[in-house]
């Protein structure tokens, strides 16, 4: 695992060596904040000093934005030929996968944390529950990691960034839709409740919800972490083919 730090460093700084990072960060912040204050978010109408309306959109926002970060993870290396350089250096496939994933995750964490002016606004306007906000940020960061795991995997499967983006979008949508109440009630109509429950348990919304209420349930943490672990494992397998 000793090679992970230089790989992480190279990848993370790489984001900032091109316009990618800045375009992404600014777009993410502008879109997420606009949504919160818009008619869909009802930030002011809600009347509570909290960030629920801001985080409400995260599962949907991530579904589009995380593939934008993840799609270039491996596709870029394959296209530019640097994959041949990387895999003739004395690094294991696992170290390479971890280095890239952690760098992407750190970058997404940065994007999420850069919304702290929202937290400050709420603190200024009222008396928010910091525990709930901290829990939600934590959950958002975990969820971003889980999305990224899926996107990194699809990126490893193809040289084409567009295909990677579409595949990861499809996979992430599936993971989100599984938790929508309208979807679960449809499932329950023709499947036993236990099975429908099991299926909805794979949804990002289901697990993120608890965090937004300030509950840090080990079950939810484990869901996200195990999804990350699983997609990283598949990532290594996909590359070693």
């Amino acid at each position: 695992m000793s090679q992970v730090p230089p790989l992480f460093k190279r990848e993370f700084l790489g984001y900032f060596r091109s316009p990618v990072a800045y375009v992404f960060l600014i777009s993410f912040l502008v879109i997420s904040v606009s949504l919160a204050f818009s008619r869909y978010g009802n930030f002011f109408r809600a009347g509570t000093a909290g960030l629920e309306t801001y985080f409400l959109f995260f599962p949907w926002l991530f579904m589009f934005i995380v593939p934008a970060v993840g799609m270039r993870l491996w596709s870029e290396e394959k296209r530019s030929g640097t994959v041949e350089l990387l895999f003739t250096l004395p690094v294991t496939t696992l170290e390479a996968v971890l280095g890239k994933f952690l760098a992407g995750w750190a970058f997404l964490t940065l994007a999420i944390l850069l919304s702290f002016p929202m937290a400050l606004t709420v603190a200024f306007l009222g008396d928010p529950d910091w525990g709930v906000m901290a829990a939600t940020y934590f959950g958002a960061i975990l969820m971003a990691g889980a999305y990224l795991g899926v996107c990194a995997l699809t990126s490893a499967l193809t040289k084409n960034q567009v295909v990677s983006f579409v595949l990861s979008l499809a996979a992430c949508s599936a993971l989100v839709f599984l938790g929508l109440s309208s979807f679960t009630t449809t499932l329950e109509s023709f499947l036993p409740v236990g099975v429908a429950d099991l299926v909805s348990n794979f949804s990002f919304i289901t697990h993120f919800d608890a965090f937004t209420k300030g509950i840090v349930d080990p079950k939810d943490v484990i869901f996200f972490l195990s999804l990350i672990g699983f997609t990283l494992f598949l990532n290594v397998v996909a590359l070693e083919r």
Binding site: K9, R10, G14, R17, G81, T82, L85, T88, P90, V91
Partner: protein
């Protein structure tokens, strides 16, 4: 010491590399010659651990690449075809990254290594330029620099003088000749004069098989008075 035994690589029905065996020792510069598609790059990619062989083995310094790929990669300096590098990094940043991966983490040590290799390959003037802005010749030298940075006992160079002007070609050849004294070097080339210029031994590969394995002198002796490219053509059956 690099030893290759019965290496095979098949892509579906196509036998890209069809049973290649040879050994190279310290002090030797082995030139791989062959038509395009003959299997030169594929063989090199198997030796360096980028591609898994379908059959056969490749060992570097006694270590089998399929058993301990990282161990093999540690001993190798590899210059892939088209000298890939991260385009948005500067030359200095890129070489610093490679140095870190090669184990030179301490700042002083890392800087010393990068300086040394910048000097060897005459890249000092472009050290702060991003790699995507470099000309082909400079990009090639960056690729070469990264292969040398850890002073490996073995060098595998895929077309090292590709895209260089005649002066640069000469400099690289001199560099390779100097390094080869204490290293094993395998290089592939299309340039027949390079064979005479630096190689101590030549292997000609055609259609995945070795058709000649001897010194340049012995190769010339096959058809006394003939040009190297004529001998090459006879051996690789281009007229057939």
């Amino acid at each position: 010491m690099i030893a290759v035994q019965g290496l095979v690589k098949t892509y579906g029905a196509n036998r890209a590399v069809d049973g290649i065996s040879f050994t190279v020792n310290r002090g030797e510069i082995l030139g791989f010659l062959g038509p395009n598609g003959a299997g030169k790059s594929t063989t090199m990619k198997m030796i360096t651990g980028f591609i898994r062989p379908t059959a056969g083995s490749a060992t570097v310094g006694g270590i089998d690449v399929t058993v301990d790929p990282v161990g093999v990669k540690r001993q190798l300096g590899y210059l892939p075809e088209s000298a890939p590098a991260y385009p948005e990094m500067t030359v200095e940043e890129f070489l610093g990254f490679i140095a870190e991966i090669r184990g030179f983490r301490a700042v002083v040590e890392k800087r010393a290594r990068v300086e040394h290799v910048l000097g060897l390959t005459q890249l000092a003037s472009v050290r702060a330029q991003t790699i995507e802005t470099l000309s082909k010749g400079y990009k090639q030298r960056v690729g070469f620099a990264q292969a040398l940075i850890h002073n490996p006992p073995a060098l595998v160079l895929d077309e090292p003088t590709d895209g260089l002007d005649p002066n640069q070609k000469n400099e690289v050849r001199i560099l390779i000749r100097n390094m080869a004294v204490e290293k094993v070097v395998i290089l592939s080339t299309h340039i027949l004069e390079e064979v005479d210029a630096i190689c101590t031994r030549v292997i000609i590969i055609a259609r995945g098989r070795i058709v000649a394995d001897e010194t340049p002198a012995a190769l010339r002796a096959r058809q006394p008075g003939a040009r190297l490219d004529e001998i090459f053509r006879t051996l690789t059956g281009a007229d057939a």
